[in-house]
Structure formats: structure tokens, C-alpha cells
């Protein structure tokens, strides 16, 4: 009986933690989704060596934001899956 109560508490605690995790992840995933949809792109009329060096950084930034967006979306999805499975 005591173990069941303890097990029930742990279960509820895990559910609450997962709910909080999902609630906190959702806006982050949404922001990253927007950032990927509207990536920073240097003005077309900027040219020269500085522009070329910057362009390489910008490509890397877009890739990093893309990775972050996919990771956040995956974390949110697995959190929701865990919640559904409880």
C-alpha cells in the first residue's frame, strides 16, 4: 500500500515534470521554427571580401539554427509521446 502511494506520487511527479517540459519547449520550438522560416540573409547589394567572409558565417549560422530547430522539435515530440504513454 505504502509502495503504491509512493509509486503514484512518483508517477504524478513525472507527469507534472513532463507537462512543464512540454509547456516550456513549445514556445522555444515555435520561435526556432520561425527563425528557420525567415533566416537572416545579407543584403544583395553588399559585396567585397568582408561580404564573402560574412556569407560563410551566415551559412553556418543558418545550419546551426536549423539543427537547433529540429532538436527542439524532436524534444517536444518525444515529451508529448512520453506524456501520452503515461
Amino acid at each position: 500500500m505504502g509502495d503504491e502511494v509512493h509509486g503514484g506520487d512518483a508517477h504524478d511527479a513525472l507527469r507534472r515534470a513532463l507537462e512543464h517540459q512540454a509547456a516550456a519547449l513549445a514556445p522555444i520550438a515555435a520561435r526556432l521554427h520561425t527563425a528557420v522560416a525567415h533566416p537572416p540573409i545579407a543584403p544583395a547589394d553588399w559585396y567585397g571580401p568582408a561580404s564573402e567572409a560574412y556569407a560563410a558565417l551566415e551559412v553556418r549560422l543558418r545550419a546551426r539554427v536549423g539543427v537547433a530547430e529540429r532538436a527542439a522539435a524532436a524534444a517536444l515530440q518525444s515529451t508529448r509521446r512520453a506524456l501520452a504513454g503515461l
Binding site: 513525472l14 513532463l18 522555444i28 568582408a50 558565417l57 537547433a68 504513454g85
Partner: protein, 518 residues
Amino acid sequence: MSDRRGLLGVPPPEPATTDPALGGPLWVSPAVRGGGTGTLVVATDALLAQAERLRRLHGELAADAVALDRIDALGVAALSAGSPSAAAAQSAVELDAARDAVRAAAIAAERTDEDLRQAITGYAAAEDDQSSAMLRLGSLIGILAGPAIRGLLLGALPIVLFARAAGLAPGDAGATGPRLDGVKRWLLDHPELITDPVFVERLRVAVMSVDDAAGSALGLPPGGAERIAAGHGFTGVEAGAALTIAAGGALGLFRETPVSLERIATTHAAAAPTGAVERLARVPEVNQVRIERYDAPGAPPRYVVYVGPTETFSPVAGEEPWDLTSNVTGVAGLSAGSLRATELAMHDAGIRGAESGRPDAVQFVGFSQGGLVAARLAASGEWNATGLETYGAPAGNIELPDGLSGMAVRNTDDFVPALAGPQLDHHLLQVERRAFAPGSPIPTAEPAPAHQREAYVATATVIDAARSDAVREQVARLDAFTSDYSDREGSSITVMTYHAERGGKKTLEGATSGGSTP
């Protein structure tokens, strides 16, 4: 002065707009606050907007990384360790991966932002170095050209004396007109020569070298003329302008006079202007000063003073105070007729100055010479200037107070602002744009097409569409100065229109000419 457009206090008809697409991008140099010790930034509006966007993105990603750290503290990983839920454990692993990825993206955004800002400040520093080198070179050329100028002047002196004796010199009836017409015709035929940033920069250097060339022509050692001018309170381009006035005085040119003015009309406006285009449209012509008084219940009045452009380019002072004499006198930092006339109008409109102890807030807007007058008034300390917006003004040598809202707008292919030398003051947002990009057709209907109102209307249109916070914030602050009042219940806008003349024929007179020739 028979033309009385604006008689009813309404703005002059909207000019035909030069197609904004003919021009180049907007170049922006935000105000350097705090005594001018900050970093000077020069970039296109689009690039500044990009830098601002990157900074925001970095801020958001850094905040997200912190938020993900907090999620970790919720303890899903610890709780799932003793739980049969494999999915919960997996979510904890995915969370770790997301946190690392967001942190890496935040670092990349910061690095990209820093790199872009370094490129921008590096450009500003290189431009500053280049400008300094050009001015040193110009000074050297001025010194070296001195003896040749002396020879030319000595050779020309008998011709000038003969011309005066024959009644053909400037100031003599019938002589100035045809000569200026010839110059105008030549300028109309060759718009591409003067509508060129390279020409503008060379002119800027030449203007700064006037004192060196004059000193050398007089046989003074290098720097001699500069020291003498400084002894009389003139430095930089002011010294050159003062020397021009002194030299021209002997030929009857650039002689200041008393001024007088009258209020032509007092009317009411339905709404405050919104945006740069609407404000520029309110800058008057012919009737040179327009003052708008904004009243709101329970609040002290606010004023916007609009000052018009040069009306005549004759170097001989006639009836019109908005003339070349006022331009040169104004650049020299002396009391130009147009400046005194505007102050008379401000007093008549009831604007309380600093001496009152309770000065009214004033925003100045001016085009061409009007911008010069507006900048001088804003810098004078005699008025509670809160905002300044100038278009094509030869006013780069005027040191403005810190904290002004607004902007100084110049077309880089407009030579008129270059007549005041390089842009020395950076307390105000500087906005530049080439009115006619390479390959664009240049109008031939008016001389100096990049200085025409239509060309600045096109630039103002681009300003109103600017994406950078640096420009948008200043446009919003200028808008807010008037809309803060006009949006209130029971507010009103009174418009006073003034016409000034040289001499004392009008009802409101200036006490003195104030334009002592150095």
C-alpha cells in the same frame, strides 16, 4: 515677390517625385551619443537592419538556452531513471541534444553579429581615414596653388577694375543675370558632371582648402591663414567662407543687410505630418518660414519650424534674404539674413526661448539653406530644440547638442552639402543616398538635379520605408513630437506663414544686420 503660393498657410503643391528606384541604397550613420566618443558606424540601411536582426536572434537563442537549462532542473531525467517509461527517458536525452544545439546556434549568431559589426565599423574607419587623407592632400594642393592664384588675381585686377568702371561687374544691373544664366545653361547641359559623388568629394576638399590657398596666395607660410582666421574665431570651413565674404565684399558681393518680415497667413491644419515625406512637403517655398503651433489641453505649446530653401543664387544681396549671401554668411557662422528672419518669425509666433526660463519645445525642419538655418538655430542654445530634420543642408560643420531627435539627410551626388566641408558633427543620425545611381537618367530640366526637392522627396520615400531601427526610431520620434499632441482630444494645430525681405519694408524688423564682414 508677387508669387504668393502658400498664402493660406497650406504647403506648396506636391512636386513631381523623382523615381526612388533611380537612386542607390540608404547609407546610415547613427548618432554618436555621450559627447561623441562612441564608435562611428556607417552602413546601408539594409545592413544595419541585418545587424539588428542578428543581435535580436542572438538574444532570443541565448534566452532559449537559459530556458532549456531551467527545464532540465524540472527533473524529468532524474524522475524517469526510476520509471518504467522509456519515452520519458528518451525525452530527457532529446532535451539535452536540443539544449546543446540551441547553445551552439546562439554562439554562431553572436559570432556572425560581431563579424558584421566589425565589418561595418571597419568600413567607417576606412572611410574616415580616406576622408582625412583627401583633406590633407587638398590642403597641400591649396598651399602649392597659392602663387598661381596670386598671379591670376593680380592679372585679373585691372580687368575687374575696368569692368566696374564700365558697369559690368557683379551688382551692376544687367551684368549678373546673363552671366548666371550662362552658368545655369552650362550646368543644365552637363548634369552628369556635377551629379557625381566624386565631384562632390573633390568640391568638399576644395572648400576646406580655401583658407590654405588664400594664405598661400597672400604669401603667408603654411597654416598662416588658418592661424589668423582662428584668431578671429573662424576654424575649418568657416574660415574659408569668412575669407570669401571678405574678398567678395570688395566687389560688392555677400554684403549682409537688415531684414524684415510679415506674417502672411494664420490658419489651422487638420493633422500632423507623419513620416519624412509629409514633413518635407511642409517645408515652404517663396514664403520662407512656416511655423506650426501644437496645443493640447493642459500642456505647454509645442512648435515645428519649417525653413525653406535658397530662393536666389545671386551673390549680390537684393530683396531676398534666402540668397547666396545668407548661404555663405551662414556657413561662416555669422548672422545670416535668413537666420535672423527665421528668429523674428519665431518670436512673432510666441515661441519662448531659453532666456524665458520656461522655453517651449521646438522641432526644426529645413531643406537646403533652410536646413543650414535650422541647424544653426538648433545649435544656438537659445531655443529648446528637441528635434532637427534637414535635407541637403550645407551644415556639416555645425556642432549640434547631444540628444536631438531626427536626422540630417544628404544625397551623395548633391554638391550643396559639400559646401560646408566634411561632416564633423555626429550628434544626429546621418542618412545619405545617391539620388541617381550610375546608369540612371539624370534630369536636365533643373540645374543640380540631386539637390532638387523632387530628388529629396525620393530619398524621404526610401527613408519612410527603411528597415533599420536606427532610421525607424528617429522617424518615429519626429512623428511622436507632433502626434503626441494632435492625437489628444481638444488639440489644435495653428499654422503661421511668413515672408521675409531684406531691408525694413515689412512690419516686423530685425534691429541690426548682424552680419559684420570679417
